[in-house]
Symmetry: C2
Subunit: 224 residues, 2 copies
DNA sequence: CGCAGTGTTGATACCCCTCAATAGACGTGG
DNA sequence: CCACGTCTATTGAGGGGTATCAACACTGCG
């Protein structure tokens, strides 16, 4: 999931869950902090997140890290290049995953609907990553964090009477490495949004959006 | 083409040219500055660049632009999401393109080899974009430009006795919008590399790499 | 020759990073 | 239940890298 350009109509749409008839493989269950695969591993399975959240990361030789994406329910992860994983994948919460054979993407294996769904997921991934380019290359810290919160609130937020609440299972440094910022800047930007009464911070990992419209404005750079 | 992480072994490899038996559609020829498609257009064709260079861009409402990729010979462009293009595509030079029906990616249409090749191209695209995330999110201006020049030199550079020469058909502002910088910073960084005698600038669009090793060092942040 | 577009260079501002200290959250063990 | 240590998050001070604004040079073309 690339948390980038807020869109009230949710262009991407939740891909829905693929319960192909030919899918007889049992769901995988993982506890927080477990690794599903590492960069360089051979790809045998794709996974659709059923519940929970995972984090895809890539490292530079000198230790700099980039969080490539967060995987939320409905997202399909594990697409290979040249047969190999090019990211690490770690769970952030209790997570359930539905595995699919890579062959289902590559040749369908007798389930054209599943094949088509996996291919569409890969293509949507490309488009979503393009949004994220814009985020990383062209947006300010405030725009980045506002976009991040907008999209997450829209997709996984819970209604709370007048407001909307969203749980952030990832650390500040995960958010920073996703948005191309430092933890300090992320923290300061949270504080700034809180002081502007746009959000409230119930606890570190629970955000209440008090002014969704203002947050959306900030995310597209209307003002700052 | 995502010009990102220099790799002497060229992990991605040139995808090679797909001259599927079932491909009877004539090559498309375009002059510089022509548009192949726009964001929002319906996707009917994928294209493999045969010769020339194209530029894929995406715009923000306020005019900020992100160059998503440059398409060099061998690259396949035009992957849709939800049936639509999500970038504009403009030629930078005289360009020849081999069109492929989208259906060849979606269901093979009787040519499994072509189907597989197009799918692998899409998957490699995902991996290459992940490299570009690292570039946009975590690299300095010098590292960005050095990486850019390293990869381009490796892939489309010409031997010139002891040195290597590369032609840059794109403008400084195209490079800036690709790397998440301003034209001024790109220009200054070029000057800095020239003054360090790492590159020579024959003319604006022709670079001679005098110290490839030094350029590679800069690209991975060994020193600065 | 003159003009427009592109690229370079300079001066300055400011956003974000870096380094550092403090505060808060969480788990463990007494 | 509290004391303690560790890890994460917040806040502060200061500096650096890149953007911004502006002027000038270069190139191509009518």
């Amino acid at each position: 999931m690339y948390v980038t350009i807020p869109n009230p109509e949710m262009r991407e749409g939740a891909p829905g869950f693929l319960i192909g008839a030919s899918c007889k493989i049992a769901e995988t269950r993982l506890k927080p902090g477990q690794f599903l695969f590492f960069e360089g591993d051979e790809v045998e399975w794709l996974y659709q997140v059923t519940s929970g959240v995972v984090r895809l990361t890539r490292m530079l030789a000198d230790g700099r890290r980039q969080v490539i994406a967060f995987g939320y329910p409905g997202d399909i992860i594990g697409f290979p290049a040249d047969g190999l994983h090019h990211t690490d994948c770690e769970t952030l919460t209790d997570t359930r995953l539905q595995p699919f054979r890579l062959a289902h993407l590559e040749n369908g294996e007798g389930d054209p609907a599943l094949h088509a769904a996996l291919l569409q997921a890969a293509l949507r991934e490309i488009s979503a990553m393009q949004d994220h380019f814009m985020m990383l290359g062209r947006k300010s810290a405030t725009e980045k964090l506002a976009s991040f919160l907008c999209v997450l609130t829209e997709r996984v937020g819970e209604d709370l009477g007048a407001f909307r609440q969203v749980t952030l299972p990832m650390s500040r440094s995960d958010i920073a490495d996703f948005l191309g910022l430092t933890t300090e800047t992320v923290s300061r930007t949270f504080t700034q949004l809180r002081k502007a009464a746009i959000i409230a911070i119930d606890n570190t990992h629970t955000i209440i959006v008090q002014k969704p419209a203002a947050l959306l404005s900030l995310s597209v750079g209307d003002q700052d």
